[in-house]
């Protein structure tokens, strides 16, 4: 279980996160949702350990890890732009971490991952030859080889289009289930957050506006921000879709 207690962070005197406390259970998929500049990326960096907090505690499985350096925490991240090494091919990228710690994943485990993410035919390609969705899967595989205790994903879908988005969503869910992996996703898209995760944390101006299951957020928005920022957007989308399918729905109603 990951626990944050009264975590704070400011840059040059400007507070970015004011007083963050939260619990994330093992194997949960949690989305951190909010507009740009709300502090969600800073929160992700704090958990990962790139950034030191100014106050409060970060506790993992009962152990205080606030002062544990990034590489000792055992968490890992897939960046929005994937950060794949352009001078190595797909397979070399995936197995990059094994050069340093060969015992982390066995050959079979790596092969399983490659199969699970559908990368068999791309192994010898250069990174520049891949599409966005393929890069995302390679980056996922590279990170999963390290067997992270917590998987962090920074805007994993924002660079992808339509159908690919849905398929990557599926893969993320499959991986989280299969490995019982705590997964934390940063996103600015309410639809993405609410359809992908077990719980959603909405952040606004450095504070948690609401943290709950998707249906709770839809049914019981706790404040004006959640209503305006989250629900409004979804409402418009819903209406658009309903208008599109109006004819079909009417037919179904008649038949029913």
């Amino acid at each position: 279980m990951l626990e944050l207690k009264n975590v704070k962070k400011s840059y040059d005197g400007t507070p970015v996160l004011t007083d963050i406390s939260l619990n994330i259970e093992d194997g949960e998929i949690v989305s951190i949702l909010g507009p740009s500049g709300c502090g969600k990326t800073t929160l992700l960096n704090l958990i990962l350990g790139i950034v030191d907090s100014d106050g409060g505690q970060i506790i993992y499985n009962g152990k205080d890890i606030t002062d544990v350096p990034m590489e000792k925490r055992g968490f890992n991240i897939v960046f929005q732009d994937y950060a794949l090494f352009p001078n190595l091919n797909v397979y070399q990228n995936i197995t990059y971490g094994l050069r340093n710690n060969p015992e982390i994943s066995s050959k079979e485990e790596v092969e399983d991952l490659i199969r699970l993410l559908g990368l068999e035919e791309h192994l010898n390609k250069r990174i520049s030859q891949l599409s966005g969705g393929q890069k995302q899967r390679v980056a996922l595989a590279r990170t999963m080889v390290m067997k992270p205790k917590i998987l962090l994903l920074d805007e994993p879908l924002s660079a992808l289009d339509g159908v690919i988005k849905e398929s990557i969503k599926d893969r993320i869910r499959t991986i989280a289930e299969q490995y019982n992996l705590t997964t934390i996703i940063v996103t600015h898209d309410p639809e993405e957050a609410l359809t992908l995760s077990n719980r959603v944390m909405i952040i606004n101006e450095g504070q948690i506006a609401q943290f709950g299951r998707p249906e709770e957020i839809i049914q019981r928005p706790e404040n004006g921000f959640v209503k305006k920022f989250i629900l409004n957007q979804l409402e418009i989308k819903k209406n658009n879709i309903f208008t599109l399918f109006a004819g079909q729905l009417a037919q179904q109603a008649q038949v029913g």
Binding site: M70, E71, G97
Partner: protein, 556 residues
């Protein structure tokens, strides 16, 4: 196809210009290497030069000292750039490094030699300070010192820029993957920079190999190719044939190095996004690099201190009283003051005409639909001007324009500078123009603009900051160039750098330093002014963008 008419006209002008001032002169060097002063063609001059005892040794010397200098300059520049990008030393210190590292660029290389002599020589300032001469300045040591300081700004600019374009998030990935600090350094800094480091090595090598100013003053008996060429041409009996052969041999390494650069370009690692990260804390690392960088800069700049001191002293090192006598003398000497005015005028006209030509060329290649062949011609011109050392162009002009009305005139110096420095301004311009939206001309034309109007109303305002940068580049280089003009400046058309070369024979170092200071301050002021203007035009552009954006928002 209306729009290509103007582009073709620009192309025609450029083609004629470079045919007359690049192709013909270079061919004449080739011809002269066989015919000398007008004898029947033979290989006699090649035989004479290559079997002459001195030449091969000078060639070897040139290689050795240029390779050592290039290696050293690249390593030192890397340290400076690393301090800026990968340590947490204070912002002000980083700013200081980035400014101080390029200062030597604003001085002609001929000044370097004098700075070395009057700093490290027997009576030098630093020699006095240390109580003994640190090393023998004439020959290899002096050349190495001069070349390293001369090329440090170029190497630093290259590496510093490239480091800015490295995505530093890779360091996090590398650490998360369990890399040791050394592996992280190799994987996320050295490998992405390999192309740039090689480029820096080759560029600096090329500069050292072809420079004339430094060997002219501290070469001593350590002969290099540039000094051989100078001796062949301006001895008591100029030997045109030998000069041409030496010039052609001088081109070979530069052709090879430019070719290698082109091949290397393909291997440059490109990142699609640069993300700033918080650097890992490392007090020891910061301290070490702060000290190292400080040492590099002190080493590079200390030799120029003397320039600010001796001209203000009655008679160095015997009568050490402060005086403005020497400075006054320079300003009162109509001839010396006139030389300064000449230089500024030449630099201004060079900058103005050069910018126009670079802009014209870039318009053809970056913003037109003329056939690829025409574009290739312009690209090749830029490539060729990049490979030809200034001394060789000067020599070629000496061959072709002696006896014509252009001989000993300012236009010939200005044209020589424009051709010599064409490559970088052209590439800067092309790069900036090709980044602009490709449909502007079409859009403007649909709204009824003619091509000229589009260029004037849309393209030029958006290219303004680059145009100013190009202008400043031409100006500064025209102020400091020595090697390109030593063969073509006449008694009436003296510019500062050729004057310094002349003063050298009379050991008039006070005048030399005062003139150098004049160049330095002129360049500093010019750069500051152009920076300022460029920033103003840039902020205007971004303001326009904000405005557009807010309109969009309202519409939504």
């Amino acid at each position: 196809m209306r729009k290509n008419r103007e582009i073709k006209a620009i192309f025609a002008v450029m083609a004629v210009f470079f045919a007359g001032f690049l192709a013909v002169p270079m061919i004449s060097v080739l011809v002269r290497s066989f015919t000398g002063n007008g004898e029947p063609a033979s290989l006699a001059y090649y035989v004479e030069v290559l079997t002459g005892r001195g030449f091969l040794r000078a060639l070897g010397n040139s290689f050795v000292v240029s390779i050592c200098s290039a290696l050293l300059a690249t390593v030192l520049a890397f340290i400076l750039a690393y301090t800026i990008h990968y340590t947490n030393v204070g912002k002000r210190y980083k700013w200081l490094i980035s400014k101080a590292a390029i200062l030597p660029m604003l001085l002609p290389t001929i000044t370097y030699g004098f700075a070395i002599i009057y700093s490290f020589g027997k009576q030098g300032l630093l020699t006095k300070l240390f109580g003994r001469q640190l090393f023998n300045i004439y020959g290899f040591n002096g050349l190495l010192l001069g070349y390293v300081v001369y090329t440090l700004p170029v190497a630093f600019t290259l590496i510093n820029n490239a480091m800015g374009y490295i995505d530093k998030r890779f360091m996090i990935v590398s650490r998360l993957m369990g890399d040791s600090p050394l592996q992280t350094f190799r994987m996320t800094i050295v490998i992405p920079l390999l192309g740039t480091l090689a480029t820096s090595f080759i560029q600096t090598f090329f500069l050292c190999f072809t420079d004339f100013g430094i060997p002219a003053s501290v070469g001593g008996r350590y002969e290099v190719v540039a000094s051989v060429l100078y001796a062949e041409m301006l001895g008591s009996i100029p030997n045109f044939g030998n000069g041409a052969v030496v010039a052609l041999i001088m081109i070979i390494p530069s052709v090879v190095s430019i070719t290698v650069l082109h091949i290397l370009e393909k291997y440059n690692v490109r990142y699609n996004k640069i993300s700033p990260i918080e650097l890992k804390k490392g007090v020891k690392r910061d301290a070490v690099f702060a000290v190292l960088s400080g040492a590099v800069l002190v080493f590079a700049l200390s030799m120029f201190v003397v320039m600010f001191i001796t001209p203000f002293i009655e008679e160095w090192p015997y009568r050490m009283n402060f005086t403005l006598e020497h400075v006054q003398a320079v300003f009162e000497d109509r001839q010396l003051y006139g030389v300064y005015v000449n230089s500024v005028m030449v630099a201004l006209i060079t900058a103005f005409a050069g910018t126009l030509i670079a802009y014209g060329g870039a318009l053809v290649t970056a913003r037109s639909t003329v056939s690829g062949k025409l574009k290739k011609v312009i690209d090749s011109i830029a490539l060729v001007t990049n490979t030809i050392p200034g001394m060789v162009i000067g020599l070629a002009y000496l061959f072709v324009f002696t006896g014509t009305p252009l001989q000993n005139t300012f236009p010939i110096i200005i044209i020589c500078n424009i051709v010599h420095y064409f490559s970088t301004p052209y590439l800067m311009m092309k790069n900036s123009l090709s980044k602009m939206n490709a449909s502007w001309e079409t859009t403007a034309m649909l709204m009824g603009d003619s091509w000229v109007k589009t260029i004037a109303r849309v393209v030029t305002p958006n290219a303004l900051s680059t145009l100013l940068e190009v202008f400043s580049y031409y100006f500064v280089n025209a102020m400091v160039t020595v090697s390109a003009v030593i063969f073509i400046a006449g008694a009436r058309t003296m510019v500062i750098t050729t004057k310094i070369q002349e003063l050298q024979y009379f050991n008039e170092f006070n005048e030399i330093f005062v003139l150098s200071l004049l160049i330095l301050f002129t360049n500093l002021i010019a750069r500051a002014v152009f920076r300022r203007l460029a920033r103003v035009s840039e902020s205007r552009q971004s303001k326009a963008k904000v405005y557009k954006f807010s309109v969009k928002k309202k519409a939504a």
